[in-house]
Symmetry: C2
Subunit: 345 residues, 2 copies
Amino acid sequence: MTAGKLMAVLRGGRFVPPPVWLMRQAGRYLPAYRKVRATTSSFLEFCYTPDKATEVTLQPIRRFDLDAAIIFSDILVVPDALGQKVWFAEGEGPKLEPLKDPAEFGKLSRARLPEHLAPVYAALRATRASLPSNKALLGFAGAPFTLACYMIEGGGSRDFAMTKRWAYQHPESFGLLIDLLVDAVVDHLGHQVEAGADAVQLFDSWAGVLPESELFRWSVQPMQRIAQRLREKHDVPVIAFPRAVGPAILMYRRITEFAALSIDTGIGAHWVANELQPHVALQGNLDPIMLVAGGRALEAEARRILNKLGGGRFVFNLGHGIVPQTPPDHVARLVEIVRGWKPGA
Amino acid sequence: MTAGKLMAVLRGGRFVPPPVWLMRQAGRYLPAYRKVRATTSSFLEFCYTPDKATEVTLQPIRRFDLDAAIIFSDILVVPDALGQKVWFAEGEGPKLEPLKDPAEFGKLSRARLPEHLAPVYAALRATRASLPSNKALLGFAGAPFTLACYMIEGGGSRDFAMTKRWAYQHPESFGLLIDLLVDAVVDHLGHQVEAGADAVQLFDSWAGVLPESELFRWSVQPMQRIAQRLREKHDVPVIAFPRAVGPAILMYRRITEFAALSIDTGIGAHWVANELQPHVALQGNLDPIMLVAGGRALEAEARRILNKLGGGRFVFNLGHGIVPQTPPDHVARLVEIVRGWKPGA
């Protein structure tokens, strides 16, 4: 069996109980992570140090026996590799020297990407070498729209007004940026696959700020183009995570290039069981705050999700990343609940 | 005709072209607003000065001939009236002395609410006296869950982790807070109706952070209870705005106490035309950034929404509040587009 239950589900099978991993499972909620993290001040430098990235990627697998490791990295390594200035201010989130107009696209170049991101690929190779063969290794990247949001706003934003205004007023030049990002993401994910990633996840974290009329062009299509090219070249399964898009997620279920859709916390398991799961494998969608709360609330909610979705093609996960205040013991308990689940019990 | 087209739609009719008003239509994007706002430093004091609140409420009606005025106020006047400390820090958004535990609920009391919020009701009376009879006057309040979010977090938040953790771990005490807020909101909206509001809107701005399993108890039910009591006592139409709840909005369409559902920018007009509009009048859902962009993008998007929803029971509006950088001329143009729209044209 290669890369275990997760890969089996992504290749068209199903498993009872379903495989389980957790978005941002390598991170600040783990004391062991904080210990390694403390040895490097710059967050990007930390991401680019293969032995440290490898170590924190493996920590949650050792501690919780999860079914997949996801390489420790960040979606903003792509703009960084393209030549945009990116840094992480302590407690403030990511910052970028914002792109002001299309004339600045000329500064961005894919030429340096493979060399610049070589440490990420080195970490993937080292992780794959240490990871048991029944555990999947996931690579990932930000989807083009989400990357464009950060690149234009210069960081996070409440409404991504500058990005959307650009897309609405000047769709041609915005399209050029998206095209460049499609190519860059294909490069980056392709190198991750060559370095040992068994599957990859595309995070379109900000797709939900687009109205449905703009979603196809700026989120569905770019993600589809990436998945198509990766599957042609590498035959690698792609998990798409268009976060907070509401009922418009129906547009994504038709894209046969996606091996699975990751669903956020807000979408009800009952609705997706009827509308999406007959068409595509699903992954999600526990509220990370349930994992903070623990106890009976966590048990009830995890079982509710399993009862709705666990009988079909499903990967148990959160609907959003683990938050730093999560007690690690709650993660252990969640894995127990998932592993102990039986349909109809 | 009393209070015009908007009231006709909320009472079960429809209009071609549909009535139009815009969330946060009285606000910083208008030079006339900024002039009045500059005369008072404290934002709450500004809300509590009837002649100023009246003036800014009327400004967008005079300038754009919109079909409804919404009283200029804030959802946080309710926690303020209950005795919680609320203030607005310039450029930082609202701040509250956060509720730390249920023992602090004892500090909150509805007894002072009618007197404390008398200036809001005075502004409603003055506005109704100046407003043409074919224009509706709207009152509003935050829904209990959204108010609880602000009251527990002490302001806005990315994930409202403290509020949700409380609700998940201690649903009984969280339920007591929600019950108190249901009563307070019924009081506040009832007084607004007595002062001249023709209809009221309930904003559940943060409902979207709840998983579907928690939504019924903390958002749908509290809003339904409020609407039920208001309709019994005042026979006033209630517009419910559960923002960003995705497909879970299907739970709200069954609540016959809601005269209309306001829909956010993310929900596609095509989906709601099929799933919601046969059951309930709709209001929304233009992206406010389209109003910033203007030009052809605005025209195309406004017409797309009108073509999907304008033939049914519909109120044209935004999917979220107007943003400060909106050019007022774009608002004038939007009203022209709506008024000039014909089905099938």
